[in-house]
Structures are given as C-alpha cells and as structure tokens.
C-alpha cells in the first residue's frame, strides 16, 4: 500500500514535470505565434482535468478496497465475540474453571470460575504454576505433581487427576482436573490447557457411601439383601451377603449369591417359623423370627433374624434386608437354664413334700401325746411325785407341739406366695392383737403407747399381720429388763404409699454386732431363756416378706430393741 502510494506519487510527479518541461519548450519555440497567457491557461486546465480524473480513479479504487477490508474485519470480530461468549457459557454450564498454562514462560491465566467456585478475586490469583501448586492440599500435592510431571515427560495428550484445592476462605474443595497439552513442531510441550471441575459433593457422597458400606462389610451380624419377589414359592434369592454371613454359614460369597435363604434351612428348621416368614413376604410385612439354619458342613446353628422390606421411590418393594445373629450359645444357655429351673422346681417340690411328710410323722405321735395328756386332766392324782412327773411331761409336750406348729406355719407361708389381702381398720387389728395377749399383758402391765399417725386403714393379710405383732409383743414381754418397767412404743406413719411401723421396747436388747446376719435366721437364739425356740423372728420376716414388706432391726444391749417394718399401702 505504501509502496503503491509512493509509486503513484512518483509517476504523477514525473508526468507533471514532463508536462511542465514540454509546455515550457513549446512556449519558448512558438512564443511568437502563441499568446503566452492563453497557452498557459489551456495547459493548466488540461493538467487540472487530467489530474482530477486520475485522482478520482485512484481514490475510488482505494475506497472500494477499504470497504471490503472493513467488512471482513467486522465479520472476524463478530465471530471472535461469539466464540468467546460460547466459551464463557460452556464454562459456566459445566461450572468448570479453565486454566491456560504457557509452559516456557510459566504463566497461567484462569477464567471466571476461579472466582465463582473458589472465591478468589482477580488480584488474589497468582500468575504462575507455583500459585496453583501451593493451593493444592498438602496430602495430595506430591502425588498430583508426580503424576503431572510424568505426564509432561511422556508427552501424552491427555491428563486427569483428583485433588483438593484450597478456596479463598481456606476450606478445600475436591476437584477433578482434566487437561491437554499443546506441542511445538519439535514435540516440546509449550502450552497446557485444563478444566477444573468441583466434585466436592460427589466426593462427600462417595465417602458417605463408603462409610455406609463399612456397616455392611464390617458388621459382626450377618446381613443379606434379597430380591423383592421370587418366582417359585421360596424366599427371594440373595443378591448381596456380607462377610459375616459367609463366616457364619461357612459358605463362600459366590456360593451364597443367587441362593434362596431356604437353601440354608433343613430338617430341624421350624416349619411354622418358615411359614411365618413366607407369609410376611407375601403380605409385604417385616418379620422377626428365631430358627435353626445349617452351615456348609451341615452343622446346625440358631439365628435370630429380621426380614425387612426396602422400598424404592415408587413405593414398591425393591429388596428385602435380613439381619441375622447367631444365638446358638444363647439358646444353649437358655436350654440349660430351663433344665436347671425344672430340676430346681422338682427338688423344691420334693423337699416340700418331704417336709410335709416329716411334719406329719412328727405330728401324728405328738397329737396322740397331747390327746392323752388332755385325758389325764380328768383324773385326780394323789402321788405328788407322779403329779410332778406328769406336769413336766405335759409342759414338754406342749412346747414340742408349739415348735412343730410354728415350723408347719413356716412351711405353709413359704408355700403360698400369693396371699389374700383385705382392707382393715388399723385400730381394730391392734385391739384384736392386744386381746389375744390379754393374760400376759395383765400379768406384766407394760406401758404401751400406740401412735396411729395419719393411718386409719391398712391393706394386708389379717392372719399374718396379727401373727407378726403377736410375735414382736411376745418377744418384748419375754425379753424385758428386770431393772426397769417395760415400755413399748408403736409409731405408725404413711408416706409415699408405704406404711412404716416403728416398734420399740426398752428390753434387754440383742448384741447385733455379734449376731447381725442371724437375727432373722431359722433357729437362732440370742438369750439363754427357757421356752425360746428361735423361730419367732424368722416367722415374722417370712410373713412380712410374703406380703411384699420389709423389716429391719436396731438394738443395743440393756437399752432396748427397735424394729422398723414397712408395708405397701395398696
């Protein structure tokens, strides 16, 4: 263009010079014939006209070419713009962050994604590969760079890797980075372009699923998943089984898949339980059962299993999940326990029978003795010595009879755990009790204080209640101190559905530290008193415990004894 302009200018200058010289020569030669002024004027007109035409030609030609160039330029520009837009849209649509690395210069440019996804503003983004590498999680960094450089060395065309990339807020995102390489004519890598995809969500989901999977693989309980339905009348076939199931059943994983759980059942598997399970599957209901299964070596084992339907999004059953636990040991213990209980019950029954027989055999001659002694009363005996002998004989027989009767009562209490209760007026019961002890009370005349507190009624067994307090009162009378008048305080109080009765005397007391555990025991006697059988407190404790109550004791030698009894109000 420049050359052409010079060319045209040169041609034009030469032509103008030539014309000027010609017209000068002509003017000089023919000056005589020619009017000098007219000639000059005509010459100028001619020159101007020719120049004008020439100019027009050149200008119009130039103009035409310029318009064409301009048009081309605009088209190119539009194309560029469109392609740029497309690129941005694609980047946006894929949420990819695109980077462009000019390797020899070590210069990287990033697209808008670096802000949109990782939160870096333009001035935070580094211009070289160091910035990129620095933001990769330390745990991933070495592995990633090794892979990347080995890729660059091998000069294959494509590369991809997963790593954690640091965001502007210092958190990390899992990314999938894919890139390809551009080479010069010598095959040297000069440029690499890549797209980073944020896969944090997928990765988290993957980790979650992996964690969930460990439940399946690591569980000590057997887990199997079966199909939703079965074509034959069997339990649907197994599609998954965890290692625990393999271990429990003794079958390899491959031997289990495709089998129906029926496969593991055998002749001792309870048919009713199997039917229960098939019914549940038919009715799409969850099921729990205990059944005998067979291992590969045909040995039996007990499992407790659940069979639970799994629904898909359309609310149709897609699978069944069954969790099974080996309860063979449990079953064995249960069976042993059952046998033990049966044996104990039988022993207990035998012992009870034995005690009834013994007591009968003791009572039979004893009742004869008592009956015969009753007859003696009608005779007048003159011989004093014989009278003395008979009196002793009678006393001993009565004592023996009482002991046997008390023992019999103990057996009867132990034998009837459920007793009849009735609602009784507490004042009436105590009146009754005192009436029964009338003779002894008249003889000793103790100071007796009964404080009924807030209690008017008690729901209890009359016979037991009376027996308990007759025993306690008898003890107080029997073991009173010779040094002071006997005082008995009975305090009754109801609180929180429990009636508490404190029974306190100022008698000779019991050396508890010596007898602590034996106070309520059978045949325990703590005083060298005649007529003491060592049965009273044992009987009291048996009776109160049969009614669901408790009894405790506090005592000090030569100070007195206090019993605390509790009864249920209802």
């Amino acid at each position: 263009m420049k050359n052409k302009a010079n060319q045209i200018t040169l041609i034009y200058t030469l032509f103008a010079l030539f014309l000027a010289i010609i017209s000068f020569k002509l003017a000089k030669q023919y000056s005589t014939y020619l009017d000098c002024y007219n000639f000059s004027f005509i010459k100028d007109i001619f020159f101007i006209t020719v120049t004008g035409i020439l100019f027009r030609y050149i200008l119009s030609k130039n103009d035409k070419r310029n318009t064409e160039i301009n048009k081309n330029l605009r088209q190119t520009n539009d194309k560029l713009k469109e392609s740029n837009e497309k690129y941005d849209i694609v980047a946006k649509a894929t949420s990819d962050t695109i980077w462009d690395w000019k390797i020899p210069e070590d210069h990287i440019t990033w697209n808008k994604g670096i802000k949109g996804i990782f939160g870096y503003s333009q001035d935070q983004v580094g211009k070289n590969s160091k910035w990129w590498f620095d933001n990769i999680h330390p745990e991933d960094s070495i592995k990633m760079s090794i892979k990347l450089y080995s890729f660059l060395e091998q000069k294959t065309e494509k590369w991809q890797d997963q790593y954690r990339f640091k965001c502007a807020d210092n958190s990390y995102k899992y990314v999938l980075d894919r890139g390809f390489i551009l080479k010069d004519e010598n095959g040297k890598a000069i440029r690499m372009i890549g797209a980073i995809q944020d896969i944090t969500k997928q990765k988290e989901e993957e980790n979650r699923l992996k964690l969930l999977e460990t439940v399946f693989t690591e569980a000590k309980d057997s887990i199997i998943i079966t199909q939703a339905v079965s074509s034959d009348n069997q339990i649907p076939t197994i599609v998954f089984a965890n290692p625990a199931f393999s271990k429990m059943s003794g079958y390899e994983h491959s031997e289990i898949i495709g089998k129906s759980p029926n496969f593991f059942m055998g002749e001792n598997s309870d048919l009713q339980e199997i039917e229960k399970l098939t019914d549940c599957i038919k009715n799409k209901k969850e099921c729990f059962l205990e059944i005998i299964l067979y291992k590969k070596d045909q040995s039996e084992y007990w499992v407790r299993l659940s069979f639970i339907p799994v629904y898909n999004l359309d609310q149709n059953i897609s699978h069944w999940i069954s969790i099974q636990r080996d309860i063979t040991e449990e079953k064995k213990l249960e069976k042993e326990k059952e046998i033990l209980i049966r044996e104990l019950t039988q022993n207990n029954k035998d012992l009870k029978q034995f005690s009834y027989i013994t007591s009968h055999n003791l009572r039979a001659p004893l009742s004869n003795l008592t009956g015969l002694l009753n007859l003696i009363d009608d005779f007048t005996i003159e011989d004093e010595e014989l009278k003395e002998i008979l009196t002793g004989f009678k006393l001993s027989t009565h004592l023996l009879n009482e002991t046997i009767n008390d023992l019999a009562r103990v057996i009867t209490i132990k034998d009837s755990p459920s007793i009849q209760n009735e609602e009784l007026q507490i004042q009436t019961i105590f009146k009754n009790i005192l009436n029964q002890l009338h003779i002894q009370l008249e003889k000793i005349k103790p100071k007796l204080n009964i404080d009924y507190g807030n209690v008017t009624k008690i729901n209890t067994n009359k016979a037991y209640f009376e027996s308990i307090f007759i025993n306690l009162l008898n003890n107080s009378l029997k073991y009173r101190s010779k040094n002071r008048d006997l005082t008995i305080d009975i305090t009754i109080l109801e609180k929180n559905n429990t009636i508490t009765i404190h029974f306190k005397d100022n008698g000779i007391g019991i050396a508890l530290e010596r007898h602590n555990n034996k106070v309520f025991g059978l045949y325990q006697r703590f005083h060298n008193y005649p007529n003491s059988k060592g049965l009273g407190l044992f009987l009291v404790k048996s009776q109160i415990e049969t009614m669901g109550g408790t009894i405790s004791i506090q005592s000090e030698v030569e100070k007195g004894t206090e019993f605390t009894l509790t009864f249920k109000s209802h």
Partner: protein, 131 residues
C-alpha cells in the same frame, strides 16, 4: 347322740384316744373301726350284705394309711353307689398340714370337715351342733 360311727386309722393309740374322747363327750353309742382303707371297704361290704347290721352315720377318716390311703378309700367309696347308699358323711381327722390336702378335701361333697389331731371333746361338741 349318734348310734354308730366308724373310725378309720392305722394308729392304735389314735384309735384308743378316739374311743375314750367319744365316750367322754357322749358323742356316739358305738364305734367300729378299721386300720386302713381296704379294711374299711371290707367292713362296709359286710355291713351291706348283712341285713340286720346297723350302718355307721359318720366316718372319721385318717389320710396316711398303709395298703389303702384315706383318699383311695374316698374315691372307691364314693364311686360305688352300693357303698354309699345312705350318703354317709365323712370327717377327715389327720395330722397332716399340707394345704394341698385341705384343698383336695373340699372337692368331695360328702367330706364335711377337715380336723387336725388330736381329737378333743370341744371338737366333738362342735360337730354335734353341726350335724
């Protein structure tokens, strides 16, 4: 006063005692006895087969006896209409305390009382008022 009663007991002292107390209490004119259930059945058989013999109005029955216990006797006695023509009432007189026995005695409609040995004049007076 009853005309004739029967006492079934294997213990001779018990029988002796029973006789003495019955006499003292003026409870019955005559007492016949058997020492076990089987003997009692044979005795009843004789009574039934002999026209002139009186039938006992009341039986005092012990439970624990050799050969045939009180329960076995009751079952046999009640099962046969022949032995039970006059619907004789039975009183169990025993030294057992097994509550099962007391419960069992209630299942026999002709057992009217369950008494613990020894027999006393008071008991017989009470029975007099009951019959």
């Amino acid at each position: 006063m009853l005309e004739l009663i029967m006492c079934v007991d294997d213990d001779p002292i018990s029988l002796m005692l029973f006789k003495k107390v019955v006499n003292k209490a003026l409870f019955a004119n005559e007492i016949i006895n058997a020492t076990n259930g089987e003997e009692a059945i044979i005795l009843f058989n004789t009574i039934n087969n002999t026209t002139n013999l009186k039938k006992p109005q009341l039986i005092f029955l012990d439970l624990n006896m050799p050969l045939m216990s009180g329960w076995e006797f009751l079952d046999l006695f009640n099962a046969s209409n022949f032995f039970n023509l006059n619907n004789t009432k039975v009183i169990i007189l025993t030294s057992t305390i097994d509550p099962e026995d007391i419960k069992k005695s209630k299942s026999y409609s002709n057992v009217i009382e369950f008494l613990s040995k020894p027999i006393t004049i008071e008991m017989l007076d009470y029975l007099k008022s009951k019959i």
